[in-house]
């Protein structure tokens, strides 16, 4: 007999994602093709930094998505704790490594981008350091969710951590900003409007959109895997009891 309680929502989700995945994949590839054309060919090189400014088209969207990813973990955590939604736990497990990878990409591209400017691969400036701490928060979430033999316990502990982490992120950012003001100020999402030249802004937003599609794609695929894995574990357990 199959584990009906568990399958209620995840099965519906799986059907949904199976339908959506092909068109989503196509859209992602298409978006990247167009975006990369804009970013690498069409947009002008920076008068100061030359061609290396193009790393920004990977670095900045990665930063945005890693932060959005943690927000997602917090929302999923709340869904799990308040409504006991089984899908929330699985999606959080799926999304955390994706967000962590975006944070890592942001750090690596930031380091590569900075090398020509700073002469070194790492500088303790506010935004990179904040991103590093966000990366550690991701690692904590990933480690905690997998630290228990009972996966439900790990999922719920990680959910609590995600909520506390989300509350702390602005505080961490504020304190690291205070600690160091070397990095250029955030030039896109400012109240007076973006101060980036429109020629760079449009490709940047397009690339951000492409990365967002990639993020969604990866999370959907990984969530399917987590559903399958959990289903497999449950089946193993039932089989063991029948033996």
């Amino acid at each position: 007999m199959v584990d009906l309680h568990f399958l209620a929502n995840p099965a519906r989700f799986r059907r949904f994602s199976q339908r959506v995945l092909p068109s989503l994949s196509f859209a992602t590839v298409l978006a990247f093709c167009v975006g990369l054309y804009f970013a690498l060919v069409q947009s002008p090189p920076d008068y100061q930094q030359g061609e290396t400014v193009r790393i920004m088209f990977v670095h900045v969207p990665s930063a945005w998505l890693s932060m959005a990813g943690y927000g997602l973990l917090a929302v999923l955590g709340a869904a799990l704790l308040v409504w006991r939604h089984p899908l929330a736990a699985l999606m959080a497990r799926a999304a955390a490594p994706v967000g962590a990878c975006f944070a890592l990409v942001c750090l690596l591209t930031g380091s590569l981008w900075g090398r020509p400017m700073w002469g070194t691969y790492w500088v303790w400036d506010a935004r990179l350091t904040s991103m590093l701490l966000l990366f550690f928060l991701y690692l904590g979430h990933i480690a905690l969710s997998r630290a228990y033999d009972d996966p439900d316990r790990g999922d719920r502990a990680a959910a609590i951590l995600a909520l506390i982490g989300a509350i702390n992120l602005p505080i961490i950012k504020f304190s690291v900003d205070w600690w160091n003001t070397l990095h250029q100020p955030a030039s896109v999402a400012r109240l007076g409007g973006p101060s980036i030249h429109p020629a760079i802004l449009l490709p940047l937003l397009w690339m951000a959109g492409s990365f967002l599609l990639l993020f969604i794609l990866l999370v959907l695929v990984r969530t399917e895997t987590e559903i399958d894995r959990r289903r497999l574990e449950n089946t193993d357990q039932i089989a063991d009891q029948n033996a």
């Binding site: 584990d3 439900d152 449950n234 357990q237 039932i238 009891q241 029948n242």
Partner: protein, 226 residues
Amino acid sequence: MAPALLDVTDLACRRGGRQVFDRLSFVLGAGELLALTGRNGSGKTTLLRALALLVRPDAGTIRWHGAEIRAEPETWRGRLAWLGHLEGLKGDLSVRENLLVAERLRGAPPAEDRLDGALTAFDLAGLAARPVRILSAGQRRRVALARVVLSQAPLWLLDEPLNALDVPAQAAFRSALQNHLAAGGLAIAATHADLGLPAARALELGVAPSSTSPPGGGEGHETHEP
């Protein structure tokens, strides 16, 4: 039969992907004792923990005087005395200190004479000042039972209360339990051994599945002993 104070209906619990018990129902009135029997792993401890609101059941209701206990969990906890597998004692504190702390943690520091009464009931007066860590397993169990008696809680939830107890201690426990029931209290005890109280009702958990019933399911079968 006494009017039902505790009314459990269709209680169900899943643990680690397994249905531990399902559609479990019973009622218990003042002065009644319910003995939970069944094999290891049949869900006796889980049921006790579910009644204590330590474990969240997946379905069913638990009512006290007709009111759902989950509406006022703090009040419910005040009505319970709990004896688990572990004694719940601090090794570095003396017997007396442990009992005092246990009562203070329930928000109700006991009068000295009640404390002495509980110690005497389980023959602990001589050990009162000793640190718990030097006591034997049986002696620690007696201290835990003294804690239960001291709490004056209407509902006792006991997990294997006779564990490690020698014959005199078992007699002391039986006598304390009888006093509690006579005063209108209720008790639910998970046990392998015979509690030795003929008036007990028994609830057997974890019935062996037949070839047609779902695997891992446990249902309660209630029997009344004459």
